[in-house]
């Protein structure tokens, strides 16, 4: 890594440290305020207000650090890795793009950010973080409580698929979350693949046409490399992949140092897009 970049990272890390300090001091003030209140003293109001101000400043500073990290470092990284791609930290994939596959149930809260779109080896792609939450209602003695449960937190990808096919094909690790809607469960010839994944399609021939032995191997390899569950969808000559790894990728953490290691990890997360294109041979567009 260039010295200039390392210096910039160090500066960013200093700002992160400062934000952490503000938050820690704010929490300490809160504790002092609590002790004073508990001992019956009204002076606790002062450390309480100071604490709130410090925490607000701390989170504000951290938010600015996170913004700068994404807009400067990550954007640069995207430009270095992909020849033709753009990164939008605040944008995400469209709801319809996610739901058209019918492999993820509709969320009460849909949140997507860190959109990257562009081309790799002639293959159009888009990728983003995705968080889907379901609304739950609990009735207690004190009234009704509403809370949200996250059932998907991970990454979503969409690529052009090199083969022309008809029908709808879903490959899921575990059972399908949604209704099958005319899709039949298909047994592929690979016992290992069937053990690991459920395959659903409304066109048996095209399911076998898409899922070649090589692609099945590549999907199993992809699953081995990515902890969590994966879902794949082939529809309208597009290939969509959702990896539910319970991770909010490309987010820096307040209590974690911003250094080269973090940088390398983020680079690896970005390279996943390339890895998918090459492993699954999506750039092999000989049939079009």
């Amino acid at each position: 890594m260039k010295e200039e970049k390392i210096n910039k990272l160090e500066q960013l890390n200093k700002r992160r440290k400062r934000s952490t300090l503000f938050v820690v001091l704010g929490i300490a003030s809160g504790i002092i305020a609590f002790i004073l209140f508990a001992s019956g003293s009204n002076i606790g109001v002062v450390p309480f207000i100071v604490g709130i101000v410090l925490v607000i400043i701390g989170f504000g500073t951290f938010s600015a650090v996170s913004h700068d990290f994404k807009n400067k470092f990550l954007k640069e990284m995207v430009d270095d890795i992909f020849e033709d791609a753009n990164y939008y930290p605040k944008k995400g994939v469209d709801k319809n793009t996610v739901y058209r596959c019918n492999f993820l149930k509709k969320a009460d809260r849909f949140h997507s950010e860190d959109l990257i779109n562009g081309k790799i080896d002639g293959v159009n792609f888009q990728s983003s973080d995705l968080r889907l939450q379901e609304r739950h209602v609990r009735h207690t003695k004190n009234g009704t409580q509403t809370y949200y449960v996250t059932y998907f937190l991970g990454r979503f990808f969409e690529f052009d698929f090199p083969k022309d096919f008809i029908g709808h094909l879903l490959v899921t690790e575990g059972r399908l979350m949604t209704s099958r809607r005319g899709l039949e469960n298909i047994e592929m010839e690979s016992i290992d693949f069937n053990k690991k994944f459920n395959t659903y399609s409304n066109n048996h021939h095209h399911a076998f046409y898409i899922l070649t032995p090589h692609l099945m191997e590549a999907i199993m390899e992809l699953e081995r490399r990515h902890p969590g569950s994966i879902l794949l969808c082939f529809l309208d000559n597009k290939f969509s992949l959702a990896i539910n790894n319970h991770q909010d990728t490309f987010e820096i953490k307040m209590f974690r140092k911003i250094d080269q290691r973090l940088f390398i990890e983020m680079e690896r997360d970005l390279l996943v897009v390339k890895e998918i294109v090459h492993e699954l041979k999506l750039n092999r567009n000989i049939f079009k």
């Binding site: 010839e189 048996h204 021939h205 076998f208 070649t212 000989i286 049939f287």
Partner: protein, 192 residues
């Protein structure tokens, strides 16, 4: 409470009838499943026919294009193909396999020919046909794998007891697999 009023013979009779009905329903269920699987095998076989026809059509067009550059070689390759007018309606699975093998042989031979004629290799129509034949090849592989998967599922039931009893009674026999093409396992040797 009413069952206690029945005589032992009546109870035995009810149990026998219930068992008989269970067996009848099971028999019908197994028979239907076997028939459904047989239909799937037939559907998959028609998928093989479609893919073979597509491949044959692409090859015919390729040979026609080749004639403009290498007439003798193209005509020699034409003779390799089992049927000159496509798959006959009464062709057996074995014959289809042979037909498929002959097409593969011709395609491989054509790949050798094309290396000798750079003009042909650069011909756009020929390139498109090459892509189309590769796609047809992928479809054929898919159809073959689907067919074999269905045959495997059907054969599995036919040989598994007690479903084997039903299969025997309705005269259902094990089906043959559509084997991988013989010529793919061998080196290509073409002489013109």
């Amino acid at each position: 409470m009413g069952i206690f009023l029945l005589s032992p013979i009546a109870i035995v009779g009810i149990i026998v009838i219930a068992l008989f009905l269970i067996v009848v329903f099971w028999y019908i269920g197994v028979m239907n499943k076997l028939r459904q699987l047989e239909v799937r095998v037939q559907e998959a076989e028609s998928g093989i026919d479609v893919a073979l026809t597509k491949r044959f059509d692409a090859l015919t067009k390729m040979l026609d294009t080749t004639k403009g550059y290498a007439k003798h070689e193209a005509e020699t390759l034409e003779k390799v193909i089992k049927w000159r007018k496509g798959i006959p309606s009464d062709a057996t699975l074995q014959e289809k396999q042979e037909f498929s093998n002959s097409i593969t042989e011709a395609v491989n031979g054509l790949n050798v020919v094309v290396e000798r004629y750079p003009d042909l290799k650069a011909n756009t129509t020929f390139i498109n046909l090459q892509n189309s034949i590769m796609d047809a090849e992928e479809h054929l592989q898919a159809a073959r794998r689907l067919f074999n998967a269905n045959v495997r599922a059907l054969n599995h039931r036919i040989v598994t007891f007690p479903q084997s009893i039903v299969a025997k009674r309705i005269g259902m026999e094990r089906k043959d697999f559509f084997e991988a093409e013989e010529s793919k396992r061998q080196d290509v040797k073409m002489e013109f």
